[in-house]
């Protein structure tokens, strides 16, 4: 488990935990960013991260990407 800000570019990752205030977590959840979701890290500039979730491309700023914890997803497992 690591913060999204450390995730490698081009990798798939599963969201394990989101920490932060009430408004923050539910705001993300409303956008579909929630625990258990598998995302792809398109771009990571050591802080702000660009992810691909389903068909949308979402930017998570430096403040946000430190609060989302992910784990690696093995490429060969069909989990999307």
């Amino acid at each position: 488990m690591m913060p999204l800000s450390m995730a490698e570019e081009g990798r798939l990752a599963r969201i394990v935990r989101i920490i932060g205030g009430r408004g923050f977590v539910s705001r993300l959840m409303n956008m579909g960013i929630k625990e258990g979701e598998v995302i792809k890290v398109l771009n990571n500039t050591r802080g702000p991260v660009l992810i691909c979730l389903g068909n949308s491309r979402i930017v998570l700023g430096r403040g946000a990407s430190f609060k989302i914890f992910v784990e690696d997803v093995k490429e060969d497992k069909n989990e999307l």
Partner: protein, 667 residues
Amino acid sequence: MSYKIALAGNPNSGKTTVFNLLCGAREKIGNWPGTTVEKKQGYFIYQDEKIEVVDLPGTYSLSAYSVDERIARDFLIKEKPDLVVCVIDASNLERNLYLIIQLLEMEQPVLLDLNMMDMAKKASIKIDTQKLSKILGIDIVETVASKGRGIRDLKEKIIENLEEKERKIFKIDYHNLEKTIEEIASLLKDKEILRGSARGMAVRILEQDFELLNKVKEAIPQIEGIKEKAEAEIARFTGGDLETFIIEKRYAFLKGVVKECVKKEVSLETRLTFSDKLDRILTNRILGIPLFLFFMYLLFQMVFTLGSPIADLVDGTFGKLAESTKVFFENQNLPSWLGSLVSDGIISGVGSVLVFLPNIMLLFLGISILEDSGYLARAAFVMDRFMHTLGLHGKSFIPMLLGFGCNIPGIMAARTLESRKDRILTILVNPLMSCSARLPVYTLFASAFFSKNQGLVVFSLYILGITLAIFVAKVFKHIFFRGEVAPLVMELPPYRIPTVRNVLLSMWTRSSLFVKKAGTIIFLAVVLVWLLSSLPFGVEYAGENSLIGKFGKLLTPLFKPAGFGFWQAGVALLFGILAKEVVVGTLGTLYGATEEGLKEVLLQHFTPLSAYAFLIMTLIYIPCIAAIATIKRETNWKWTALAVSYSLILGWVLSVLFYQIGRLFAG
């Protein structure tokens, strides 16, 4: 009879394209009351029925986290449209359906438009629409709006759905919360304070909709206790809070729906679209920032190389007009004060507003292109890390950068920030960016006093401004906006080629707002200054004995510790509030000298030390009238007063400090 329907949906679901297909050119663009968010309205006629369509801002849910979401929610809940057409991206079903079930919970009649069916097919997603329609109890239309497919079906279904019909009551099972929900719902029903679904309202209250809670608190005082009890129970049961619990339950329901209705051939490798490939370059870790700076450089070049000649032309025209009006009044033997009011006051005043217009329009043209193409959102991503060190986030960078050209568009560009905190902070420090109007003052003094190091002196003032902005932002954040920066979370739209119509339209709406709103305030201020300069009667315009001259004299002791304690400097700074470049012109008039001669005169009055102190003052003190008016327009009087007073105090303190410390060293 005419009906009113609303288009709702997630951002980037193709909602606007659907709107354009439905209404064509029969649209009206305005602003939502009290906001700067665009409101699009239109209508279409089908089978002799006139259907009015309102395009709501893109939202993920009815929980209001941003201005856009609040508008959409308020419209849906308060205005109760006859039908909501929910446009959803078929290739992203689960998240898109979330809004729908919230609408259904509120017993809002909904028609589902499954858009982007082609994308879904491409991604090998098969949707059983009949089953979906049955589970949700609503009609579904399939469209591919980008290719104009399915619009006739959509219109037909809209008409069909406008007729009264039995609708299935939609319910989600909230397990442990059911009892509480029913309890609140029956209380709401008894009191009859709200229209609409009592159960829906009850869920919203538990979901921390404080606006709603406050509304019913009076009639149902026990409601807070009920809520607290539920909160404690959920915390004990799941360890989480109410809001998260409710959201999770909705998603759990949706997961089931998607499982039943959607067949997806699993492919883990998300296909990289053209947009993604562009993003690899434009938001690249190494290339991103240089490319961004390059685009900004282009923008600046366009705004100032194209705009400045036009601005000069406007300036010249108004100058001539003022001149000839004066002559005209003299020839007609009309009282000279009237001629002066019209030429020095009104015409010059209007001119001083309009002179900004070419630059502003070009700037908004550029921003509209960047915005519509999808690049502006990327710029925020690229600059996020740097801006974080200032306590702001990526989106604040653009307003700051624009401030170097002119603070007015800079301040206006802060609109793109969702969080009020970020917006106000960005606006407050914007005037510290040395705008192009301050450059003439810098160059005049630099060439007179520091001829060997002109460039360095001017550059140092720009740097001083930026440093102060960082410092002031930190201090204000600490005083007024404790707590964290609202983290940047935003969806990137795919890259698109902007349409000429949209770009011109948004440029026009924004520029005309500037003229209308800022114009009136600037105009009043200009007339006031004219009065002060002309009274008492018969005095030389802006001379030593005019009110403003006397006022300037009053200021003399104030400026003495900064090394420029003479009334001309005071008056020049006063006039500089009209527009910073006026400082040069005023000094010229007061000393009765042209540009070259002015340097000579200045050398007699200022020392290099007091000259630099004067430049520091010019940089920092009070934003120009147009900027003040814009700050007022974008915020309120309280923040405007703060912007004026902090800059005045900071400017004075720093120039005095500089002069006094400098004197110690100079001996």
